[in-house]
Subunit: 673 residues, 3 copies
């Protein structure tokens, strides 16, 4: 069954951030915007994201005239609106009168007004004020025919070290550790360096001039994530006073907050995606972005929105290269292929001044439609209209890869291995890429997710795991699942406290048939080799020395160094399932071998059978049809064999056998079930 | 007509910073200094730069005995003095009693006493005190026969974030924006991110814990420059109570303050030049230093002073290499060739302790004259005496290159392109080098300068321009000028607010016959090629996609990528003049082709016709004669053809045709008019 | 005569840091520890290093039950204890109630509780409290049969900028400069930049927002070192109320405090050694570590303790590689070969949580003895028992190398040469390596040490020297010593004030027969060559231009650049001795030539005559026998000729002529006298 963002507007959303208040003195620009919106086949505007200083220019003095006017205009022009709550930035009068709304840095200094992401997450005044503003907006616009949903604030992130937040952190810890400071002392192992706490009020956040260590940092990050979540809950409660339209927040990878948990507060997930296409590592970028699309789709197991992207270049990356012809459509439809029900931009019209004025936008400073970018956007709008039946569908997925933000945070602060960068993300990408290049649909899930829907689960570098996760993995394999784990598996619990009795933790030694005795960290440039069957695969960075249980079977052995001939890749039958343990980090080839072998044994195949480098195929489906998106990220055309007859959704023609995918091009097929 | 620094002392100044107060306990050193001054053919000492703590050891208790004695000694030995005002550093008692004289950093912390450049630019007490000290000095020494001019303070630079400066900034803004906060809101485009100001008092300087963006930073830099200027005006007013001797300040490139504007306060420009000769990029350094000599000469269109240089190595560069034989004379005379009427050193005698004790000086720690450096200095002193007739002359210049400090500042903070380094200086150097290597004299002017004296004006990367400048360029070309502009021309006004309607701004699209639609930023290592006539030139970093007006003529086309065959270099006849637009960044070869073609069409030739790599020729002249300086920066001798007969000013002999310029050597010729 | 740490326990100490309080809730772990201690042939535990929060959980409420129990247990199991004073970390209640115990950073901010090295060195409260705690511990445990010595605090280091320390610094300066501020003004040359002090109270420590220059920084470092020393003296005074057991502190190279002076407070030197074995530069690491072993042995001219080392990898280095088979024994016995009477570890059992849980330890998280590391430790324990007769012996040394911490600090802050890194340590290592690779025992001494015991003294880059040292060197050579000095010799006194009259200072010009006129600093990648006899040696970084006295003999000449054919290496007979001056930095080959020639002329030979690369031989001896340790740091076996018959102490068999040293292996021989 299809799942829609808003049942009353069953169209791909095409549009984006719109800041008409910047042009309030030249309203002819607004009329031109309406003309151009229609011309570009756009149908959506995200309005009000940074409007607070216009809506409430003085405390409790509101002025909604600009919003009234622009919402009407958009609706008249056939558009719809995601209405933003304006908490992402606040007016200066508020910071002046209530300094508590400003963030305090870890050095103890309170910020002055300015930039973004500059509000305290705890401030009772700010929470109250946001609640009020949101309910006023909901009351005034909740029934406006243009408005189809709520864009709650903007790109939440960051932390605050003010006294209010410190106090809230104390209470958070007190709750987590059930009021028993010795539970905290034990989990954080504070007897080390004589750091025992006598009571919760002594605990400070991680500070450059105070303390900082893994357990503290992990709980601080969880607190910040939870505080962000309760801030969002408060925002939405304000909206819900008068509106039941769907809500979303636009997420950002690399914020290292627990989005999976936060997603419970909202109706739909959306995210902001800014890949640096055409950089020298261009081809590796496509699966990385696919990874995040899958991550955000998997979160609520329903279509997401691509809330922000650039129709052209960005202006804040180190090198801001133009998208080559074709790439705008390809990268936009990539999102759709992975489950997006929108293609939205930051922003509609380039600002005339300030920080992001050179960021790509649909309408350039030149003001007219005769630009390459405007034409690219229009072409995409037409395409989205042609494939509208894809809206609301989802892929059917057999393989999951565990990317866990708690584990990511834990590896970041772990004192060991390669100290500065354990390369967790890169490792996840390497494993994911083995599936992407085979055209296999994947869910990206966190460690505590339900594993039972999947035939195969891959968990790269799952260093930090709860006891519950340890038990879940054991149960999953015992009941017939196939699981691939790697070096550094299950070494610590969620508080960075080591499991005793040998790694991986507890029963996982039985599941994988291994005890990992010690982990050798290689210097850059050093390597070893692992022989599997008749091939040798280069391994780098980490080589674990593994002791085998009698049940286990050696799949690959080290070839060099003092652990030559010791096992490096191990397979173990456990219960009704099978577990694989990969003790060393490959450079893609070893991972390719392992994934290829396992997929073959499980008879899992891709959406298209044979794909050249840089080409992939992903799918969405409903009860009646399957939609296959074939994407070519190469700068030259590729010929691929799609096999059976399929309907080209854009041309309306049937294709089969060998077809040509142009440079930076794609095909969208429909296959009846 | 010759222009002299001081009509009563018509000699090249040869000498430098002299700190006899460091040797006050061993006055035999002073006598030795006088002996060595004469021996080395030096004739000038800059005295008193850091003497405040000696001159006023306690508040309002003065002691001028050391100064009285040393000025008399110098005069007796035949020397002259540039007398410094001592505001570059102040006594400790002052900082203790009046902490407001100390600077506050951007994090809000007031400095403790120490280092240099540590005074508030606004402090009323410090301004008053400086005024007093300067008038006392002027009264006491303004008529002393040794004193020929005023060395006002030392190397002004830096900013202060104290409450007094913040308040002064508020007033400065209020004046600039005519008391209308909405003018500021518009120019700074503050509606972006809801940053609108309600009144001027809300505006803070750019702060690490507050706000920071281009418009704010640019106005802050202008304010700091103006505040420095009014500080200087106050200093000079103190001096002028009792003295009308000429004043100068020793400027430093890279301070990013508006020296051109500040120069209005003083009688002569001087600067401190510390090139790292003999570094691996040695040959490219010669035109870079020439560029700055031209910049400082052009500022007031009269000879400048080389106030500081090292007779040997420095001690504060990353690698402090010795000057090779010949280089001291060559680099000193380079300054003279470009308009300097002095060669002065930091410092006369090496300090025995503290930060700069290993900085090259005329007299070494060894104390005697039997050093390589002392001999080099003496040789130069003799040369300066021989060429004394050059004093006061100026070059006759047809070509100007626009280097604009406001534009430099704007590019530094611009959010776009290559984010970290737009390479504006390097680009200016590349264009300048095309003239330098042809032996063509150049003025370096700012964007608002009068263009009418020049046959050709080159403006690399002139991204930020006032409306007035836009109009000036239009007028200059219309009336017959030739102008070369490049990618990123005239995109924003002086407040970083974009021009609307397409780049370059306003009428410049007509002048150049182009609309620059979008700018492609390449990654390091990437390139394209531009074909002009039969040659292809490599281009890097930036490739603009250009739309042509019908009038325009394509000079060069891109060869690769999706804009292959689109125009890259354009020529446009406009009014009585011609405008060239270069849409991509070359690596020197493209710029060489463009400049070469344009010079040929304008029939502009160098001082010497054919010059090998690393050799240049520059000139000065008066009504009667032209003086040509041929300089060889290569580590081996070069043979060049000087053509017609000329008088070698040093040997008194006539030379013509092929002559040998030794390794790191030079020739100084006189040609009657 | 043998010198023992404790006459009542004449065994190599084998054991290390033991933190049983971390396992206080699972005391079965304690029993297991005792079993494993015996099993691993360990005999020592360092207890109580971070126990303060357990021993005094509330102010003046003590609880010694854990300590009572564990000391008894260890003794029952046959072990001995180094009992720590717990001042390395303190309980939270103390920081809460007496914030003065916390350190203040140079920016003026007081730390919050946390990390280590976080106590003020001056705080009267903390000194009093430490004194009390130490005397309580001494009273309770000073006669305990397990306790054989005192481990005073832990890894002293760092500085504090609180008002108390600033005041103490003022007094320290007042004493040093005999209450005369103008003595300080002269030595610090404060007239430069008008920085003269009126009184001592104006002097602040080096501050990022205040002043910083060499003289100030050097005196600050000396003050911090002296303050650390008086802190230690206070600790020991507390202990001495009730115990006369030997004391030690565990030192760390790179703390840049004057350990040689501090060593006067303690009975034995110990240090913590954490080399990164098997990194790509592995082979150069062996002599570097040997250098520090020699440094710590030379300090009190008696055997030292290797207080901390890792039995496996570390966890805090950038890459934490495993020790290869053999390397644990080799690197441990290396310490013994250079004079250590212990091999101790951080730590006995891996912590379960916090910062160092992945640091190598004897007992791993797995908990049992069946690990590679445990076996390595056990093997070493057996070896130490077999060679017990070596205990208390010392090498007989003819060659000394001067490494001077004051000079190191002075070079670090010197404004000149290669600014960022003068490579003093690397230079010392290069010279040391010429001796190490020849199997020659060396003392590492500071500049003021007695030189008379040595036949040869080498002083690389001895830039900063007192007048006294200058005189000592002169006397040493005059009376028959051989001395090798290099470029940058004796340029400044201990306050970074230049010597006048030419370098090297004063009479050293006569001693070496040179006046070093100027020093050329080369860029990376640049070089010159020095010809000595028939070979040319590459020189880099620094080339001094040297003027010769008539007495001096040129050993090597520059081959390139403008100083080609000028002297680079000079030999000078002076009095009864000989002085060598090496004016340029070689890359090892030049130093090899110089050292080789000088050793030959002095007839000094190594412990073994011919040694391949990466193999060395060091010795200890007493009246009756000499013990020779042959060490092979190569990853493959080496055959060497040991010549005469010697007893292999481990096998009890006699060997002679060619023997095989395995990869990462060693031999320990005894030769009767």
């Amino acid at each position: 069954m299809k799942k829609y963002f808003n049942e009353n507007f069953k169209h791909f959303l095409h549009g984006g951030d719109y800041n008409p208040e910047q042009w309030i003195d030249t309203k002819e620009v607004w009329d031109e915007d309406m003309r151009l919106m229609k011309l570009s086949h756009c149908n959506e505007m995200s309005v009000g994201i940074f409007s607070w200083s216009i809506l409430e220019p003085k405390e409790n003095e509101y002025d909604f005239s600009f919003m009234d006017e622009i919402l009407d205009k958009i609706y008249e022009a056939g558009g719809r609106v995601l209405l933003a709550t304006p908490s992402g930035a606040r007016p200066r009068w508020m910071a002046e009168k209530y300094p508590e709304v400003l963030r305090v840095k870890s050095n103890g200094q309170r910020n002055e007004f300015g930039r973004r992401h500059n509000h305290c997450l705890t401030s009772p005044y700010y929470r109250k004020k946001v609640y009020e503003m949101n309910s006023i907006l909901a009351k005034r616009y909740g029934k406006h025919p243009a408005v189809i949903g709520w864009h709650i604030s903007n790109e939440y992130g960051g932390d605050c070290f003010c006294p209010l937040c410190r106090e809230a952190f104390t209470k958070w810890l007190e709750k987590k550790y059930e009021g028993d400071i010795d539970k905290l002392n034990f989990q954080w192992w504070t007897t080390f360096w004589s750091h025992r706490f006598d009571n919760f009020s002594q605990v400070a956040p991680p500070l450059p001039h105070g303390d900082s260590y893994a357990s503290l940092e992990l709980d601080w990050k969880r607190f910040v994530s939870d505080q962000t979540q309760s801030f969002i809950a408060n925002e939405i409660a304000g909206v819900r006073e008068y509106s039941d339209l769907p809500t979303t927040i636009n997420m950002m990878p690399y914020q290292y907050i627990n989005y999976t948990k936060i997603a419970n507060e909202i109706d739909a997930v959306s995210w902001d995606s800014y890949p640096s296409w055409h950089k020298p590592e261009h081809l590796s970028l496509a699966p990385e972005i696919a990874f995040w699309h899958d991550f955000f789709r998997s979160m609520k197991q329903k279509p997401f929105l691509l809330m922000e992207s650039t129709p052209s270049n960005t202006n804040w990356q180190e090198f801001n290269k133009l998208k080559r012809p074709g790439m705008h459509k390809l990268s936009s439809i990539q999102a759709v292929a992975h489950g997006s029900d929108s293609v939205q931009y930051f922003q509609w019209r380039k600002s005339r001044g300030s920080n992001e004025k050179f960021h790509g936008a649909v309408v350039d400073h030149v003001g007219h439609e005769n630009t390459r970018v405007f034409k690219d956007v229009t072409e995409l709008g037409i395409c989205l209209e042609k494939i509208n039946e894809v809206l609301g569908t989802m892929p059917s997925v057999k393989v999951a890869l565990i990317y866990d933000v708690d584990n990511d945070n834990a590896l970041k602060v772990a004192q060991g291995f390669q100290l500065k960068d354990k390369k967790y993300m890169q490792t996840c990408y390497t494993w994911y890429n083995q599936l992407w290049k085979r055209g296999i649909d994947v869910d990206i899930i966190n460690a505590e997710a339900d594993l039972t829907p999947y035939t195969l689960v891959i968990a790269p570098m799952l260093y930090s795991t709860t006891e519950k996760t340890v038990a879940n993995i054991e149960k999953y394999v015992k009941e017939g699942g196939t699981f691939i784990g790697t070096y550094a598996l299950a070494m610590v619990n969620e508080n960075d406290l080591c499991y005793l009795g040998g790694f991986p933790a507890n029963d996982l030694k039985k599941v994988f048939g291994v005890w990992a005795e010690e982990i050798d960290t290689l210097y850059p440039g050093e390597c070893n080799y692992v022989r599997c069957k008749n091939n040798e695969y280069k391994v780098v960075d980490y080589c674990e020395r593994i002791n085998l249980a009698p049940s286990a079977q050696t799949v690959g052995k080290y070839q060099d160094d003092f652990y030559a001939n010791e096992p490096a890749v191990v397979k173990n039958a456990y219960g009704k399932g099978t577990a694989y343990y990969v003790g060393a980090r490959g450079t893609g080839e070893l991972e390719d071998f392992v994934v290829g072998s396992v997929l073959k044994s499980l008879k899992i195949e891709g959406n298209i059978k044979k794909l050249p480098d840089g080409v992939t195929a992903h799918s969405r489906e409903d009860e009646n049809a399957k939609y296959i998106f074939v994407e070519n990220y190469n700068g030259d055309k590729k010929i691929i064999d799609i096999g059976e007859k399929m309907l080209n959704l854009e041309t309306g023609e049937t294709e089969s056998g060998e077809v040509v995918i142009p440079s930076f091009g794609l095909k969208i097929y429909k296959k009846a079930k």
